[in-house]
């Protein structure tokens, strides 16, 4: 239990958690938006309709800003494995280093080669190559997600390794490691979460323009594509991917499942608490409102299935912050359910052709965009808090993994630096993205590519002409 503020391990955890949560705000939008760009680019190629190209141009600018912040906040993560988690890197580097390096070789090189071309190079590349650039960036971002999830899956459910003679982990089977069942399920779940973020963001901008009665064609396109993809992704993130993920936890980390649900006593007909506050000291869930049997059914397939309780396990194998884990999981589920309802109703309105003429609902859609970010973050908090007290589940404890030579003073110093830098970066990002959204995609013939660039060669991304 190391929530002790004097503990260097706590500060290394806090720093990694902070930089990771902040960083992941950006890649989730990158991964979510990328396939929208590919889709619109493809529609533009097929139909020759200029509205698709205009949408790509507009979203590529936002994509570029988001991508840049994702890159610069991601680079420190690669180094923090070594700086703050040296004992872990020494122990497991031979295994997890494989995917960290593969991510650079197979994903980052692909993304970063083409991202500039996607944002600025429409004229230079011509439509077909520009489409290929969009595919390259989208593939790169998803491949990168895959390698990181393989790395995380190894920490959740190690596979394909052995303990070498020198006491460190080595890899035995690259395929067992890369196609760890946990990784596949988690990847599917995570990517759907990213798509939810992307589609809510696009929908939100569409709703803003619709409410303001601006950029009519574009607003309609964003609302339609956004809500359609949003509905599919919101369903898929819950079922089957989220469901499978929870079953995986139940199978391989039963103590984590018990903590996620605030289950202290085990038994059949275990319920899912809709409300309730875990009290770890008295080992009970206070003020519970439960659906009886639901947990037994969801985790193991029948209502009579036995669900283990925390009481059955020694308390030094319990996740070290059960309260936060419980709330993270439950809030994620609540938000996920709301997303499905919201997008299903949007789909209904869309089908009846009334989406753009329902101001109150557009307001809801416009204001909804932060919540997928919150849900994705809560999902990762569930995964990472649930894994505790292990760094590699069952093999290596978190308290053994941090760098012994780095003092709390060093870690707090760099943490403060990150907080300051990221705060400024966040303000800058919001301002610049807000500005792009304020300028809008141009449209209805006011500012197309023909307006700029004829003699200057300045591409449609050239803000100087805006």
């Amino acid at each position: 239990m190391n929530s002790n503020l004097a503990d260097p391990a706590f500060w290394s955890r806090f720093q990694f958690g902070f930089t990771l949560v902040y960083h992941y705000l950006f890649p989730q939008l990158t991964m979510g938006l990328a396939w929208f760009l590919v889709y619109w680019k493809w529609r533009g190629l097929r139909t020759g309709d200029e509205k698709y190209n205009r949408a790509v141009r507009f979203w590529a600018k936002i994509f570029g800003l988001n991508f840049a912040v994702g890159v610069v906040t991601g680079i420190p993560m690669e180094f923090q494995f070594g700086t703050n988690w040296a004992a872990f890197s020494r122990y497991a580097g031979g295994v997890i280093g494989q995917t960290l390096a593969m991510e650079s070789m197979f994903a980052f090189f692909l993304e970063s080669a083409f991202v500039g071309a996607l944002i600025w190079g429409e004229k230079q590349l011509g439509p077909r190559n520009h489409f290929l650039a969009a595919i390259g960036v989208a593939l790169g971002s998803w491949i990168s997600g895959f390698f990181i999830l393989v790395t995380n899956a190894f920490m959740q459910h190690p596979a394909g390794y052995r303990l070498e003679a020198d006491g460190l982990l080595g890899i035995t089977s690259l395929s067992a490691y890369l196609f760890n069942p946990w990784a596949l399920v988690q990847f599917a779940h995570n990517q759907m979460g990213a798509l939810v973020t992307g589609s809510f963001f696009i929908t939100s901008v569409g709703a803003l323009y619709a409410l303001r009665k601006l950029h009519h064609t574009q607003a309609r396109l964003y609302l339609r594509t956004g809500t359609l993809v949003g509905m599919v992704a919101a369903v898929l993130v819950a079922f089957p991917t989220g469901d499978q993920q929870a079953k995986m936890v139940g199978r391989h980390q039963p103590v984590t499942l018990a903590a996620m649900e605030g289950k202290f006593a085990g038994g059949p007909m275990a319920g899912v608490a809709l409300v309730g506050q875990p009290n770890v000291a008295t080992r009970r869930l206070e003020n519970p409102l439960e659906v009886p049997g639901a947990l037994s059914f969801l985790a193991y397939g029948t209502f009579q299935s036995y669900v283990h309780g925390l009481d059955e396990y020694p308390s030094d194998t319990w996740p070290d912050n059960i309260e936060l884990l419980y709330y993270s999981f439950h809030l994620m589920i609540t938000l996920g359910t709301i997303f499905i309802a919201l997008m299903a109703y949007a789909g209904f309105l869309n089908w009846r052709g009334r989406l753009e003429s329902s101001p109150w609902f557009l307001w809801l859609l416009m204001l909804a965009f932060p919540f997928p970010y919150i849900a994705n973050t809560l999902g990762w908090m569930t995964a990472e808090l649930g894994r505790q007290p292990w760094l590699i589940y069952g093999l290596f404890r978190t308290r053994d993994g941090y760098s012994k030579v780095v003092s709390s003073g060093d870690t707090i110093f760099t943490l403060i630096g990150f907080i300051g830098l990221y705060f400024v970066l966040g303000l800058l990002f919001l301002y610049l993205v807000g500005r792009e959204i304020g300028h809008g995609p141009g449209g209805e013939g006011t500012s197309g590519p023909e307006q700029v660039s004829a003699e200057t060669g300045v591409g449609p991304g050239g803000e100087r002409s805006a």
Binding site: F79, G82, S89, G93, G94, L100, F106, G116, V405, G462
Partner: protein, 349 residues
């Protein structure tokens, strides 16, 4: 196998220095070769579209280090703690200043971004230079393979050393000059108009200044690690590196004299690569020298991961490398040609 991985990891770092070194150089010279706002955007456009691709080599280097030399990573990164974080923060500032400067057409805003760009480029050159020479000089590794190092102690090079001492500071100065010369050579190739003319002048002057500094730090290195040159003379790769350096110097001089800028810039890359390669070969197999006792030094052999790990990595690494090179060749052909202040043919601003 281990020696091959030592070479691959060194290669990744060398490629990174060659690619991003020109960006640092261009960044440091930004305020002197570009005088008007348009010219400043021109310099940014010259390095613009692929800076993140360049930076991936650093990330790839770090990731590969975790995979193949996990014990080295576990010693070096916490040891260099503060210096590494300064580097990371500067990389963040540098990247952001390149990306967002052009987003707002405002003099104050662009002036500020340009300042951040120049400042972080300088600091990066200094920190990378000092960090690299810390590897040559050695760090106070204990028997467990751990060390901590303050920024400076008594400025001497033995025993309880700090990040900065007389040796690493002089190497940092050399690195600044070298990368600035490299960047000027690149800008001469990549720009036209007044920026080009100034870059050519700076390139010539800076390369002239680099030569005596190089001799000085070579002499210093001899003094700091007297055993290394003798050890290195048995390593053919060391001689190969030096041969490349000699040829590159000749090509560079002729390229600069006759205004053949592609030739000069290629030579500049090979010069950097040759210097780093002969350095890497000279210290092999020691990767991190202990200033306390040589027995504590970390070598490629005592930090490498298991044979299977290395074997598997040598299957996928060449594939990834081939793919990365393909993308680069494809995309950099789209960015061929010079960037002008009036007409940005990169579509970058």
């Amino acid at each position: 196998m281990i020696a091959a991985w030592y070479a691959i990891v060194s290669f990744m770092l060398i490629v990174y220095v060659g690619l991003d070194g020109r960006n640092f150089g261009a960044g440091m010279l930004h305020s002197v070769v570009a005088r008007t706002p348009e010219e400043r955007r021109q310099v940014i456009a010259a390095i613009g579209p692929l800076w993140s691709w360049h930076e991936v080599w650093l990330v790839g280097f770090a990731g590969t280090l975790v995979a193949v030399f996990p014990r080295l990573m576990a010693s070096a990164f916490p040891g260099y703690y503060l210096a590494l974080f300064l580097i990371l923060w500067c990389l963040i500032l540098r990247g952001v200043s390149i990306e967002v400067g052009g987003h707002i057409d405002d003099r104050l805003w662009q002036g500020f971004c340009d300042f951040v760009f120049v400042f972080s480029s300088f600091l990066l050159a200094i920190l990378f230079g000092a960090a690299a020479r810390n590897v040559i000089r050695g760090v106070p590794l204990d028997a467990q393979g751990n060390f901590t190092m303050p920024f400076f102690t008594d400025f001497t090079v033995r025993g309880n050393v700090g990040l900065f001492d007389w040796y690493t500071v002089s190497v940092a100065v050399f690195t600044v000059m070298l990368l600035a010369a490299h960047g000027a050579t690149y800008l001469a190739l990549k720009t036209e108009g007044p920026v080009h003319d100034r870059s050519v002048r700076y390139a010539k002057r800076l390369w002239v200044a680099v030569a005596p500094l190089f001799l000085a730090i070579s002499a210093e290195s001899w003094e700091v690690r007297p055993g290394v040159p003798g050890h290195a003379s048995h390593n053919p790769f060391c001689w190969l590196g030096l041969l490349i350096v000699v040829f590159s110097v000749g090509t560079l001089v002729s390229g600069l004299r006759t205004g053949r800028e592609t030739r000069a810039f290629l030579a500049s890359n090979f010069l950097l690569g040759g210097l780093l390669a002969s350095g890497a070969a000279a210290i092999f197999p020691v990767m991190l020298h202990s200033t306390l006792t040589p027995a504590n030094s970390l070598t490629a052999y005592n930090t490498a991961s298991s044979h299977t790990d290395l074997f598997l990595a040598s299957i996928w690494w060449p594939v990834g490398f081939a793919l990365a090179t393909t993308y680069f060749v494809f995309i950099s052909r789209r960015y061929a040609g010079k960037v002008s202040a009036k007409r940005d043919n990169q579509g970058f601003y």
